[in-house]
Amino acid sequence: MIVLEGVSKDFVMKGRVVQALKNVNMCIDDGDFVVIVGKSGSGKSTLLHILGGLLSADSGKYLVDGVDVFSYSAKQLAMFRANTIGFVFQQFYLVPYLSVYENIKLPLVYGKHLEHEAQIMSYLQVLQLDLWKQHLPHQLSGGQKQRVCIIRALMNRPKLLLCDEPTGALDHQSAQQIMQLLKVLNRSGMTIVLVTHDLRYKSLGNRLFRVDNGMVCECKI
């Protein structure tokens, strides 16, 4: 179970304090598919970064299975990310000089719960990337890149998969494929948090949160 209790986060921008998150309270159960919607600049990416252990809050608690993540040292945070979190980004962030296969294997260097070679191959086959595994990222289409990112995010068998606008850079057909893939992963028991500003996907998950001006509230689907 993932719990956020009274989490607030401020940023100082050009000498002015901006409240990105205001007293956020959230509870995510194992196996939930959480969709977070909100306008640009509303604070949804900040929320995702906090959930991913990339950012610490100014106040509040972030509990994962009862352990406060905000109390972790930098090294413990790195281990937390390596073993608990999977990231899927809008801009893919594939390492340009590594092949598809090498990019997918990247988390294996840092994490503990590692997928086997056979599992990697089966992911590649299921997502129709097996013929592309030796190609470099610039040789792939947007949809293919995002599928590579998803496989990469699954390599450490994450407890929580965080997706930041995963379809933002894709055409409609590729976006549909990616969303279907996330749904399949959720059905297999994976907890997913999807951040999007595209309201078409608000009914994709079983829970919907709206972020508005740093305030988070749960909505009915």
Partner: protein, 359 residues
């Protein structure tokens, strides 16, 4: 090993930039190796020239007005510690707007350096006539029976020397030799050849002190020492210049690495998001520079060996590149590379993951 593999893949894509960094290190290595080789060649050549002079001792600034010097020479001749000797006086003279070295020597001087006559004859110690013998290189300027004016006195050329090896004074082929009896200065020099330089020096000093003759002794070992000191100084200066090439290479590598860190900040961000610690990022970049330095070192050593082989063939000298020098350069490359890499690696590991992934 994983870092090395990533580095290999990185180089496959951005190889040229990486190669240029290695080359800058390689050039610095080549500079140092060539400096070492050139110092070796110059030192050998100069010391060989000094050795050719034989075991000579030159006593300078001797006062010959009171006759004590003649008694001293008779004494040391009697005790037999000195093999051969000659009084020597020096001056210059002008002839047809050119300056020539003039040496007042005794006949034994020619014997001292195995000087052979090419044409004409050598002079005796007690020549009645004013005569001179000229070095081989002056054969085209002065011919036999030519007359030379020096201090309002005409001297006749009676002999031209064959080629001679170096004397204590250097090249004698351009000198004009005059019998010592015509030397009229109050101070003179005494040149001696001895089988035991150190002993003879002590022996002469003892006698010169006893006769209360003021003197200064110059011997071959002194010249060698002075030359060695000079060469060591030259070597140090050259090494400092060589170090400048390392500094330039360090700045180049540091600059390229800084650029690389900026270019790869999204890679750094995603690695951190996947659980890479600051330390592992730091090591990744530092290792990259170290491997770059070692590759540059290997390239430099290969180039150096080729250059030295070429030079030693051209200069007809020995191949000279010591193992200690090679190890020293390896350490230097690693040290310089590490220094160049520390700042970029630190900047890379301290990159804020949210900042670099929010671009």
């Amino acid at each position: 090993m994983q870092n090395i593999k990533w580095l290999y893949l990185y180089c496959k894509k951005y190889g040229l930039r990486w190669l240029l960094c290695c080359l800058s290190m390689a050039i610095a290595v080549v500079c140092m190796c060539l400096i070492s080789y050139i110092s070796y060649v110059v030192q050998n050549a100069l010391l060989e020239q000094v050795s050719l002079m034989g075991t000579d001792l030159l006593m300078g600034y001797l006062d010959r007005t009171d006759g004590l010097l003649d008694t001293f020479v008779e004494d040391i001749e009697q005790y037999g510690e000195v093999d051969r000797y000659s009084f020597v006086g020096s001056d210059i003279f002008y002839f047809e707007q050119n300056v020539y070295d003039l040496k007042f020597v005794e006949n034994s001087y020619f014997d001292l350096y195995q000087m052979e006559i090419g044409s004409g004859r050598l002079f005796y110690d007690f020549e009645d006539e004013h005569v001179v013998v000229v070095g081989k290189d002056l054969a085209n300027t002065f011919r036999l029976h030519d007359r030379i004016l020096y201090h309002n006195q005409w001297y006749t050329v009676i002999g031209i020397l064959d080629s001679v090896s170096e004397s204590f004074y250097g090249n004698d082929n351009t000198c004009v030799f005059v019998p010592y009896r015509f030397y009229d200065s109050s101070h003179t020099q005494l040149l001696m050849k001895s089988t035991d330089e150190v002993f003879t020096k002590q022996y002469l000093s003892y006698y010169l002190d006893m006769y209360a003759i003021e003197y200064e002794i110059f011997c071959q070992s002194q010249i060698k020492e002075a030359m060695k000191l000079l060469l060591e100084l030259m070597e140090k200066v050259l090494y400092i210049i060589g170090c400048v090439s390392f500094v330039v290479s360090m700045l180049g590598i540091g600059n390229v690495m800084l650029f690389s860190v900026e270019q790869r900040k999204s890679e750094i961000g995603i690695r951190k998001a996947m659980g890479a610690s600051d330390f592992s990022i730091f090591i990744q970049f530092l290792l990259e520079v170290c491997v770059m330095s070692v590759v540059g070192y290997v390239m430099g050593m290969v180039l150096s060996v080729l250059c030295i082989l070429l030079f030693s063939w051209y200069l007809d000298s020995h191949f000279h590149l010591t193992i200690s020098m090679s190890l020293y350069l390896l350490l230097m490359c690693l040290g310089i590379g590490s220094i160049a890499g520390v700042a970029p690696a630190y900047l890379a590991c301290k990159k804020d993951v949210v900042d670099v992934l929010s671009v």
